[in-house]
């Protein structure tokens, strides 16, 4: 028996909604088999991963904490991805954002202005946009592939961070450990939910999501970006500038990642340290695609993704699940989603062979 993929006349909305659920289901089944094979209590591990983030307030607050940077970065990246500008280096832009933001409390440890943390957020966005802007410059000038440039810049960002932490910005009282001094209170983001670590970075991410929705789903600017990405010749025909699309995509996604980095140092970290990113820049790529590059979808996918992280941590505590297994689950989820997403535009039909 043979199956054919037939393109639908238009994208199926019901499939677009069903695809993530199918992916979750398939991920659950395959993960169950893998966990069982490596000898962990599979049912318990999966149940912990899936349910624990939502069944008590503390875990859910941690989901929200983790969701903020993922959501922020993924919204920025998705804008670029829809314009076919592939910023793979959000990790580096996040680090630069964290560095720029940290410069203020590091240079002015005595500053007590209430405007300190807002200034740090602005500096963080500038840092991220600057780092992404380098890739935009080379892309528009020399047609240098932004995938490679942003990725390489991430490696450089890590080295810049190391240099600062091992050198000029090292906490003098920190016994040579590579980290800055703890920031003063005015450099820290106000909390959002009392009794938890959730801070107003979640508000930033929410605002960014609304802005992304307006820009990409309603605005003519987003329309222009999508056209330059999906049909470059149509964009040239309409007179939409490709270079402008590249700049806009990279500056927006860079600024979003930079803001996420600033919110990390001014949030749960309270200082600049080597582990400023917990891999958010790369995880956000998965989040963006899981959300179908749609601003609303990304809100859901970032929630699912951070719940998966928290659930994975809990599974490590409760059910002896190795950390690496959590990554496997995430990888499975993305793979299955990409397979399921094909069904949004295509349908499977059984190929009928003509009777001879």
């Amino acid at each position: 028996m043979q199956f054919d993929l037939i393109r639908r006349d238009r994208a199926s909305i019901s499939m677009a909604l069903l695809a993530p659920l199918l992916a979750l289901l398939a991920t659950g089944l395959v993960s169950w088999a893998i966990f069982a094979a490596i000898g962990t209590p599979a049912g318990l591990a999966l149940w912990t991963m899936a349910a624990s983030p939502f069944t008590n307030w503390y875990d859910f607050s941690e989901v929200l904490l983790k969701m903020a940077p993922l959501l922020l970065i993924a919204q920025g990246l998705a804008i670029g991805f829809r314009a076919r500008v592939f910023n793979i280096g959000a990790e580096g832009q996040l680090i630069l954002g964290a560095i720029f933001a940290s410069a203020l409390p590091v240079w002015f440890p005595g500053a007590t202005s209430p405007l300190l943390w807002p200034a740090m957020m602005v500096a963080g966005m500038a840092g991220g946009a600057f780092w992404a802007g380098i890739a935009a410059f080379w892309r528009t000038r020399l047609n240098a592939n932004e995938i490679l440039v942003t990725l390489m810049l991430s490696l450089i960002a890590v080295q810049v961070l190391n240099w600062l932490l091992l050198g000029p910005w090292k906490d003098p009282a920190g016994f040579n450990f590579p980290q800055t001094a703890m920031f003063q209170a005015q450099a820290l983001l106000p909390g959002l939910l009392p009794g938890t670590r959730v801070n107003i970075a979640l508000l930033f991410a929410s605002v960014a999501s609304v802005a992304a929705y307006i820009l990409m789903q309603r605005g003519v600017a987003g329309y222009r970006l999508v056209v330059t990405g999906t049909a470059p010749r149509a964009a040239g025909y309409a007179g939409f500038s490709a270079a402008r699309g590249v700049w806009l995509s990279l500056l927006i996604s860079g600024a979003a990642a930079g803001l996420a980095g600033a919110a990390e140092v001014a949030g749960p970290l309270g200082q600049l340290q080597r582990s400023v990113s917990q891999g958010y820049g790369f995880a956000a790529i998965i989040v963006a695609y899981l959300g179908g590059l749609h601003p609303l979808g990304i809100v859901v996918s970032s929630l699912v993704m951070s719940a998966l992280y928290i659930g994975g941590d809990n599974a490590a505590v409760f059910a002896d699940l190795p950390q690496a297994a959590v990554r496997v689950v995430q990888g499975l989820l993305l793979t299955f989603y990409l397979i399921a997403a094909t069904l949004v535009r295509y349908r499977i039909v059984r190929a009928r062979v003509a009777p001879a």
């Binding site: 912990t48 069944t55 904490l65 040579n176 992280y309 505590v317 409760f318």
Partner: protein, 360 residues
């Protein structure tokens, strides 16, 4: 109970953080212990010794140990230790300096939980930093290294330029100078506890510069040791023996055995006598030991090493006794003065003979 990770469950005592998940049930009165490590708990290295020590302690006090390995420092680690405490862990061992801020918050939030924190400097009533006096062992290792070095150049691949490891290099150089005053020690800081590729590259570079003994300073992987065996140079390391990776050229190990310390602290916790203090433990405390000496070490030198070992154990000898001269030639510690534990734990300069400048 020992090597296997056991789930905890328990009665979450902290308000608002009660676990909603009725998971595996275990004896309600058994002490729940958690160990968080920054690197995978491989067969060798720092995390491995912590697991061994914590497992022994759990067995000794009838507790249940959960090992949470390879946890990146930062918000994730903070959450995982909170999670562990919320689910009933009463005794938490944090295996990295980078867990300090999160660990202190944990100790504040859960006053009934006792926390041991590796390599730190902050103390709280239920939060004790602990560190090993590696320098006592590396001094002896330096003596052996100098005796076997033909080029007079020794290389060290080191993790982070923190006092704990600066002192281990310094003492290593001082011990080597006791055998050969002209000896030179070069250091490469790889800024990682666990990065096999960088460690190997660094060792390769040192060997190509003429170093013929390697000191793998606080690396959790055997890559330096394995490379030394390939290159035919001697090598030693900290924490646990890696002799199997270099059957011919293994110089020896400055090992750590945390079982007695962890056991004593766990008992103190159970008896309610746990007190926050800075624990700096060495040969006399049976935490630091030296072992697996290479047979190529001349017996005359081996004799001197044994003498020194006995003197250190008896408290009669401290490598950091003046006169100590720094890299600039300035006398830092005058003749007849010995550095205090506090000074040693804050040491941020290299002694003369270490040729690489400290990263500033």
């Amino acid at each position: 109970m020992t090597q296997t990770r056991r789930a905890f469950l328990g009665t979450a005592s902290a308000a608002g953080l009660a676990s909603a998940l009725p998971l595996k049930l275990s004896a309600q009165d058994a002490l729940q212990m958690a160990l968080v490590t920054p690197s995978p708990t491989a067969d060798v290295g720092w995390s491995h010794t912590l697991v061994e020590g914590a497992s022994a302690a759990a067995e000794a006090v009838g507790g249940e140990l959960s090992v949470l390995e390879n946890i990146a420092e930062g918000p994730d680690a903070d959450r995982i230790m909170q999670r562990a405490a919320a689910n009933g862990a009463g005794f938490v061992i944090l295996g990295s300096f980078g867990y300090m801020n999160g660990g202190l918050q944990l100790a504040q939030r859960y006053p009934q939980v006792s926390v041991l924190h590796a390599s730190g400097y902050q103390v709280a009533p239920n939060f004790s930093p602990f560190a090993a006096k590696y320098y006592q062992g590396t001094y002896l290792m330096g003596m052996a290294a100098a005796a076997l070095s033909k080029s007079g150049k020794i290389g060290s691949v080191s993790a982070f330029a923190i006092p704990e490891l600066i002192t281990s290099v310094n003492a290593f150089a001082l011990g080597a100078q006791a055998i050969n005053p002209e000896i030179e020690v070069s250091v490469v800081w790889v800024n990682s506890w666990f990065d096999p590729a960088s460690e190997r590259e660094a060792a390769q570079a040192l060997i190509s510069q003429g170093c013929d003994v390697m000191f793998s300073n606080a690396q959790d992987t055997p890559s330096v040791i394995a490379l030394a065996e390939e290159a035919g140079v001697y090598a030693c390391n900290l924490n646990s023996s890696m002799q199997s990776y270099a059957p011919n050229y293994y110089l020896g190990v400055v090992g750590t055995d945390w079982a007695p310390f962890f056991t004593a602290q766990a008992r103190a916790h159970l008896e309610g006598t746990f007190e926050g203090a800075n624990y700096y433990l060495g040969i006399a405390d049976e935490v630091v030991y030296v072992d697996d000496w290479n047979g190529d070490i001349p017996s005359e030198v081996m004799g001197r090493i044994d003498d020194r070992l006995a003197a250190i154990g008896a408290g009669e000898f401290n490598p950091f006794t003046g006169p100590l001269v720094d890299q600039a030639g300035e006398t830092r510690i005058p003749e007849g003065t010995t550095m205090t534990d506090q000074e040693i734990q804050g040491m941020d300069w290299h002694v003369a003979g270490v040729t690489t400048p400290l990263p500033s």
